[in-house]
């Protein structure tokens, strides 16, 4: 049973890693750093529902470190880390309250991922005017959150761990 879980987690990390890479290849650039589809969040969502918060958290952390070291730089890792942590906390809270389905939880994750990144960017660039980017990012985060939520809901229903 334990080996099974480890294998599954490894699979999930690999998936999240590849999805992050695929997302980088996609030529979707809105001109705002951090505005992404959040494909990797799909894996985190599935892990959250299938493996529990602790494993999902580890997965999220490992993914950010892996992707940061492989494709990014220190600054990018910092942004990702802040986004990943804040969105994870939001998703956990959203799931614990039992108020929302996977879609609501995913929307919370998407929105707070962007909020976290903007907060770090505000500290790094030392300007408060970045707040004006927030509405765009929040709307994008909501839309992608809905999409990711629908897909991950389907996966969670069908996947047997």
């Amino acid at each position: 049973m334990k080996a099974r879980r480890i294998a599954f987690l490894g699979l999930m990390v690999a998936l999240a890693f590849v999805l992050s890479y695929v997302e980088m290849l996609l030529p979707i650039n809105i001109g705002i750093p951090g505005a992404k589809i959040g494909l990797a969040n799909l894996v985190v969502m599935v892990a959250l529902y299938k493996l529990g918060p602790r494993d999902a958290f580890t997965l999220s952390l490992v993914r950010v470190l892996l992707v940061g070291f492989t494709f990014g730089n220190m600054a990018m890792m910092l942004y990702s880390l802040a986004g990943a942590l804040l969105s994870f906390v939001a998703m956990i809270i959203g799931k614990r309250t039992n108020l929302f389905s996977a879609i609501g939880v995913s929307v919370l994750g998407g929105v707070f991922h962007n909020v976290g990144q903007i907060i770090v960017a505000m500290f790094v660039l030392e300007t408060a005017s970045l707040v004006y980017y927030l509405p765009f990012l929040v709307v994008i985060g909501t839309v992608t959150g809905i999409i990711i939520g629908i897909i991950s809901g389907m996966i969670v229903q069908r996947l047997k761990v």
Binding site: G104, V107, L134, P135, T142
Partner: protein, 125 residues
């Protein structure tokens, strides 16, 4: 999709649009509010006067010289000066950010700070 999901999404979108409207409103007000005529005498700031309220300010210098700054209709000008050449008095009225009127004999500079920028690259008079 649960009902709560829909409520959550609507709440997020409403909050966002509220923020956009509020910040846009504040920015548009600031653009008007912040246009100021800054008067410096010999490199030292003498005073700053908002362009959106009409006034006449007499700038007295230690040696008895003076300039009269007039703000009317959102534009600043020097309407009277004690100096000989009267260049500052004949200068056109200014209101774009960065515009200046200089009175060299009195070392008085009137500069517009903040507000609308001049989007014309060059102009002839």
């Amino acid at each position: 999709m649960k009902r709560n999901d829909v409520i959550l999404i609507i709440v997020i979108l409403v909050l966002t649009f509220g923020f956009v409207i509020a910040s846009g409103y504040r920015q548009s007000r600031r653009a008007v509010d912040h246009a100021m005529a800054v008067v410096t005498v010999d490199g030292e700031e003498y005073g700053r006067y908002p362009l959106d309220e009409d006034r006449t300010e007499r700038i007295e210098l230690d040696n008895g010289a003076y300039n009269v700054l007039t703000i009317a209709g959102g534009e600043a000008s020097v309407s009277e000066a004690s100096c000989r050449d009267q260049i500052c008095v004949h200068h056109f009225h200014i209101h774009y950010a960065g515009d200046t009127i200089v009175c060299l004999p009195n070392k008085v500079v009137v500069e517009i700070v903040g507000g609308e920028a001049d989007d014309v690259d060059a102009a002839t008079h």
